[in-house]
């Protein structure tokens, strides 16, 4: 398509999964009403989950999942070398995700427990950015297809793409929800980056912070809020640790 005097063409995409549930990749096939238009934007060069054709000339790599085994590091580096733009796709890729919960447990113990005795290689769950450089992060567990559409349209049309900087509460209020704190529950909405349209509070369950911290959050005030409402701070920590998005804040607290 020609618009404003420059050509807008399809982008060549590869989609790759590492340690994860593949739920984020699945989103690429969701939102069926816009799916044909969405697929028309992209030229799928490498996407094992939906196509047996594999080419190595993709420009944009969507990388899903975290890294938990050494062979994954090599595979990731190869992808990085090929891709012009590497996108950490989903919370596991952006922060380590729920997989990181095992990092707190001695690895040998975990292996012994599940595979009783058999040697299984595994390493602490690591986010993509700790291994190779990442150009964009699309957080979410799973990612919101609407946001993915917006960002891919941005890439196709060569516009800059950005995530909301404000917290989930904004969207939660716009959906006219009752605040979970009013119901006596703990919610990470005030510190979590918006963009999911507050799905969890809208379903009346707490935001667990899958999208990571919003910009410049007021963490001390949030802790104070939890204390003021007489909610358990150990539960707060369990929630903040759920997707590993708040590792920096929890770390800070320990020291």
């Amino acid at each position: 398509m020609k618009h404003l005097g420059f050509n807008i063409g399809k982008v060549k995409i590869g989609s790759f999964d590492f340690t994860c549930c593949e739920g984020c990749q699945l989103q690429l096939a969701n939102r069926e009403s816009t799916l044909p238009d969405f697929l028309a934007l992209i030229d799928v060069r490498n996407f094992r989950e939906i196509s047996s054709e594999r080419f190595d000339d993709y420009d944009i790599a969507l990388v899903e999942g975290s890294v938990t085994r050494s062979d994954e590091i090599e595979r990731l580096k190869k992808i990085r070398a090929q891709a012009k733009v590497l996108v950490a796709f989903g919370s596991c890729a952006c922060f380590g995700g729920v997989n990181s919960l095992k990092n707190g447990i001695p690895q040998e113990e975990a292996v012994r427990e599940v595979y009783d005795g058999k040697t299984i290689e595994t390493m602490p769950s690591t986010r993509i950015a700790d291994i190779v450089s990442v150009d964009y992060c699309i957080p979410g567990c799973p990612v919101s297809k609407e946001e993915v559409e917006r960002i891919l349209v941005g890439m196709v049309t060569r516009s800059l793409v950005s995530l909301p900087k404000y917290p989930v509460c904004v969207e939660c209020k716009q959906r006219l929800n009752i605040c979970l704190f009013d119901l006596g529950q703990l919610c990470l909405g005030p510190v979590t980056r918006a963009g999911c349209d507050a799905v969890c509070p809208t379903g009346r369950t707490a935001c667990l912070g899958c999208r990571g911290p919003a910009e410049d959050i007021n963490f001390p005030s949030f802790e104070q809020l939890v204390r003021d409402k007489k909610l358990s701070s150990s539960e707060m920590r369990e929630m903040l640790g759920f997707y590993n998005g708040f590792a920096d804040y929890l770390e800070h607290e320990k020291s």
Partner: protein, 363 residues
């Protein structure tokens, strides 16, 4: 000039059937119990209603205001259709008629303030005008909650901005009819001229409302105070609490600041320009390209919300736009509310006065 008003009374069952008819023939919104909070109290919101029995006529207050029905959280401003290298722009002010039932005087006052902002001044907003003209408003009076301070803001009564206003006088409603439409609808129902007793009851009702306000916020001279206190450390003190979550602005009936963004349609055949409600408390409200943020600290941003509400902006005749419903105070998780902030400010100022110090230097 105030338009003439017609006064009538209607029995409660008759009123209900009037509302029911109206609701069933139109797209209507009214207060609805949507949940119960942890203390077991019902929680109300203005929601789409399909029958009078869904409406909680004796509700206390809704969590969010009805603002979004006139200024949607997200609104399409224009649409472009592209054709090889060129485009067409389409602008529509589509606004199907709606009925808004059960607005409190302060809520109606809030709409009147929005009218001032959106329709007066050099650039009236056609989008707002279309919605406003297509909105039929039925107001209702109410006893204040303990933390309401609309009386302090002088917004606890209203005499324009609605089509019909109902006061509860026991077994019937005292109606103030302010539009031809409303009157012609009502003519189909059993309405009567108010009797002497009805008038007395109305006055009693007004009195008892007026006397029930438990919270007062001293706002006289506040604009000047705010100017003087612009650099007060008080702002950072409250700012340190603020989560910059924007909840206050989302529920507020008069917060209207917005953001505009443009999006390609997914088929790339066009694009839409949308505005969406923003809040001056959000971190990048005043951030410009290149990353400079004119209000980098929570305190700076919080101050602006107060500045806007209690001092007013020059282009809106410097009027205070807060109506005193305290929705923001109830919504705020950090326990920040206008009463405490303003009192704090006054307190600080007063102690300042005694030692005759000028306000601190600009930093």
């Amino acid at each position: 000039m105030e338009k003439p008003m017609i006064y009538k009374v209607i029995s409660k069952p008759e009123f209900k059937s009037f509302i029911d008819t109206l609701v069933k023939s139109n797209t209507a919104y009214g207060p609805k119990a949507v949940d119960t909070d942890r203390l077991g109290n019902p929680v109300y919101q203005f929601m789409h209603v399909q029958g009078a029995d869904e409406i909680a006529f004796d509700y206390t207050v809704t969590h969010s205001s009805a603002k979004h029905l006139l200024l949607p959280f997200r609104d399409e401003l224009s649409h472009y259709s592209f054709r090889d290298g060129d485009w067409d722009q389409e602008v529509r002010y589509d606004a199907p008629p709606i009925v808004l039932i059960g607005l409190r005087p302060c809520d109606i006052n809030a709409i009147n303030i929005l009218d001032d902002v959106m329709l007066h001044g050099p650039y009236p907003s056609p989008y707002y005008l279309a919605r406003r003209k297509n909105t039929f408003i039925i107001g209702m009076d109410h006893l204040p909650l303990a933390d309401c301070f609309c009386k302090s803001m002088n917004r606890h009564t209203v005499n324009h901005g609605f089509n019909l206003f109902c006061s509860d006088i026991g077994d019937r409603y005292y109606l103030a009819i302010n539009s031809a439409n409303a009157f012609s609808f009502l003519k189909e129902f059993r309405i009567e001229d108010p009797s002497y007793e009805d008038n007395c009851n109305l006055i009693e009702r007004r009195k008892s409302i007026k006397n029930s306000f438990a919270t007062t916020v001293e706002v006289t001279g506040l604009p000047v105070f705010l100017d003087i206190e612009f650099d007060s450390p008080i702002w950072q003190k409250w700012g340190d609490k603020c989560l910059s979550c924007g909840s206050c602005a989302m529920v507020c009936p008069t917060c209207y600041c917005y953001s505009v963004e443009e999006r390609f349609d997914i088929d790339l055949k066009g694009s839409t320009r949308q505005n969406h409600l923003y809040s001056c408390n959000l971190v990048d409200f005043a951030q410009v390209a290149g990353g400079h943020n004119f209000r980098p600290r929570n305190g700076d941003r919080l101050k602006y919300r107060y500045y806007h509400h209690y001092r007013g902006f020059a282009a809106n005749d410097n009027q205070q736009i807060c109506v005193g419903c305290n929705r923001c105070g109830r919504a705020c998780l950090a326990d920040i509310n206008p009463k405490d902030v303003i009192n704090d400010l006054r307190l600080e100022r007063e102690s300042c006065m005694t030692c005759v110090l000028p306000s601190p230097d600009k930093t």
